[in-house]
């Protein structure tokens, strides 16, 4: 019997192991173990004020904190029956979609890219391919600058609150960002070309995929949940009815199912479901990369992330221009709690759909909270893929086997601090 235990997989966010056992050439066990320590966020929010909760839950994840902030705010607004201005909606979209640039650039270049180049990390590239490192850092910086302009800093935004924004960037600041975003479309397209040039294994599983969908835009901060295979569309606030989370014995993250089976929620799901909404440059980049809907190979999730960077640059540039030239107000609206109630919200995080729901008391305290993160949705699907894919490569030598397994894990871009929370 051969056992392969990859402890603390490197170049992913959080702590995770993969355990594989092969008996007489047959795969007998594959486990994706989220060993990240549980921090019990759902327990922490009990008894806290409505204002404190977005600050607390933002700390679920340092890398997608704009999503946790905005999703919790929207869920709490749903609970207290507060609607916000169009400008606030636009700034939230910019805050979250702008974060894709640094998230995807970090993941593609710093975390998953070295796999394809046979390197342990990105650092050696600084000498051999400085232009690639400089492109990675400039895209990442641009994303950070968008988040900082809207939210006040790159990690854990401060100005997004229930009802609106306590501060917003100046018109000139927005114009400058728009110009930089327009110029970065080229850099993002070069990222698509780079990732399209890498060899990836042939593997086409038939998973369900879920993502937000909203007519006329690439759904990021609002929308209904669409199922690619089953074809249904349902309100995001009913997520408890179609996503079922259960604890597993092998780790601290719960695993999720929809319609009784694992599913994927990630860039690949969004690109498939919102293919018709991609910006012209993103479509050109996708065509150049030879991508056709429906994309099924999970290794192509990285390429889909690169395509989203093109879309994000172009779309966020247009949004910055509109915000710079249009009137409107994002000042936090006043609110009161009329009665005890529940509310839910969903946004697309870089790694997939993020759901939050809360109950609030008449006294304005949160009495219950629930968070289902993208990685918690994806882990069951990742484990199924690891199983199916590992079975095909049991003949590979141990080093190659380990690399391929890690590569599949990184293609999913898991965030285990989110998954466990």
């Amino acid at each position: 019997m051969t056992k392969l235990n990859i402890h603390h997989i490197a170049r992913i966010e959080g702590h995770g192991n993969v355990a594989v056992e092969v008996k007489n050439g047959r795969l007998t066990k594959v486990q994706m173990q989220a060993i990240e320590p549980a921090r019990f966020f759902e327990a922490m929010v009990k008894g806290r004020t409505i204002d404190e909760v977005p600050i607390i839950v933002s700390r679920i994840c340092g890398i997608c904190s704009p999503n946790h902030t905005v999703t919790s705010i929207q869920a709490l607004e749903d609970a207290i029956g507060l609607s916000v201005s169009r400008r606030t909606e636009q700034l939230r979209y910019l805050l979250v979609y702008g974060s894709y640039l640094c998230n995807h650039a970090s993941h593609l270049y710093l975390l998953s890219g070295p796999d394809f180049l046979g390197l342990p990390s990105v650092f050696p590239l600084a000498e051999t391919a400085p232009e690639v490192v400089s492109r990675a850092l400039s895209l990442k910086k641009l994303g950070n600058d968008v988040i900082t302009a809207v939210g006040g800093r790159p990690v854990h935004p401060v100005s997004a609150v229930v009802g609106g924004f306590t501060d917003e960037p100046s018109r000139n600041h927005l114009r400058r960002l728009a110009a930089r975003l327009r110029a970065a479309v080229r850099e993002a397209a070069a990222t698509v070309e780079l990732f399209a040039s890498f060899d990836i294994p042939e593997y086409e599983p038939e998973h369900e995929m879920l993502a937000l969908k909203s007519e006329g835009t690439y759904a990021i901060t609002r929308g209904e949940v669409a199922a690619l295979r089953a074809g249904w569309t349902r309100p995001a606030r009913d997520y408890h009815e179609f996503i079922h989370e259960t604890p597993v014995a092998s780790g601290n993250a719960k695993f999720s199912q929809t319609d009784g089976a694992p599913f994927m929620a990630a860039a690949i799901a969004r690109v498939n479901i919102n293919w018709a909404e991609l910006t012209p440059s993103a479509r050109v980049a996708a065509a150049g990369a030879g991508l056709r809907a429906v994309v099924r190979n999970p290794f192509l999730n990285n390429l889909c992330q690169a395509i989203e960077m093109v879309d994000a640059c172009e779309r966020c540039a247009a949004l910055c221009e509109e915000l710079a030239e249009s009137d409107g107000d994002s000042k936090p609206r006043d609110w009161t709690v009329a009665k005890a109630a529940g509310g839910a919200g969903a946004t697309e995080a870089p790694r997939g759909t993020l759901y939050h729901s809360y109950r609030v008391s008449k006294a304005g305290k949160v009495t219950a909270g629930d968070v289902i993160t993208p990685t918690a949705q994806n882990l069951a699907c990742l484990e199924a893929d690891l199983h199916a894919f590992a079975a095909r490569i049991t003949d590979a030598d141990p080093e190659e086997f380990k690399l391929r397994i890690e590569q599949l894990v990184r293609a999913y871009d898991p965030c285990l601090s989110c998954a466990v929370h």
Partner: protein, 260 residues
């Protein structure tokens, strides 16, 4: 070992970056500071799980630790780190004060687990501890407070640490610094703000965006909590709400004070 090698090692200290219970935000902040990459030539960043698949080395000079202590495993790891590293740097609120993970310490851990995972769940196998700062387990040489850390502050401190300078953590509360930059005071507008007792050094980043201080840099050494409470009581503010707000980043210290 030749003399040349010894010299090379002496001039290029080995640095490892580790994380306990956290959101990885401080490590993300490190990657947000390209100037730090420029330091790669002057330090040997030999283990950084987030960025490289190389294994953790047996010997190193500097350990940078993010995250709160929540498991027995963390205690053992820290003891090992203290034996190995000449310099230990705790970064971020989680490592410095217990941070947001510490908030679960306001209640009972088993109740929290049952609420999140269900009463019959056996999933969290590791022995869990009430979340605590790194300094509750081992001696810490340098601290970079904040949630998240300011990468420039970290970079400057790392260089000072490599030169052997003493830790110079700010002692005073944020209030004075905030008034200097003429931010309108939250208290004077009838709203609570923890800048009254929170360690300064952040440049009042949140306040400059019209958000009140939430206490992420920890309670300042020179803060006078009793006097702050008296001032609030006299001003007609809700002292209980103030104490409750302090818990978000400082539950560990609040509990310690209550125990002593």
């Amino acid at each position: 070992m030749t003399d040349a090698n010894a010299l090379n090692q002496a001039s290029c200290p080995r640095v490892v970056v580790l994380s306990l219970a956290s959101d990885f935000g401080c490590q993300i902040q490190i990657t947000n500071f390209p100037e730090l990459l420029a330091m790669v030539g002057t330090i040997d960043l030999s283990y950084w799980q987030l960025a490289t698949s190389a294994d953790m080395p047996d010997s190193y000079d500097v350990a940078v630790i993010e995250g709160a202590v929540t498991l027995d495993e963390h205690v053992r790891l820290l003891q090992q780190v203290r034996k190995t590293a000449g310099v230990v740097i705790a970064i971020g609120a989680c490592a410095v004060t217990g941070g947001v993970p510490g908030l679960v310490g306001t209640g009972d851990l088993d109740t929290a687990r049952d609420l999140v995972y269900g009463e019959d769940a056996t999933i969290v196998k590791q022995h869990r501890l009430v979340p605590a700062p790194v300094s509750s387990v081992i001696e810490v040489d340098y601290r970079v407070p904040g949630c998240p850390i300011d990468p420039a502050e970290f970079s400057a401190l790392l260089q000072q640490a490599l030169l052997g300078a003493r830790e110079r953590l700010d002692r005073t509360p944020l209030c004075a610094a905030c008034q200097t930059i003429e931010n309108p005071c939250f208290w004077l507008r009838g709203k609570a703000c923890l800048g009254l007792v929170t360690r300064t050094g952040c440049g009042a980043l949140c306040l400059s965006r019209d958000r009140a201080c939430t206490g992420c840099r920890g309670i300042a050494a020179d803060a006078n909590l009793e006097s702050a409470r008296r001032y609030l009581r006299e001003g007609g503010f809700d002292v209980k709400a103030f104490d409750k707000a302090l818990e978000v980043y400082n539950t560990y210290e609040v509990n310690e004070v209550a125990r002593s």
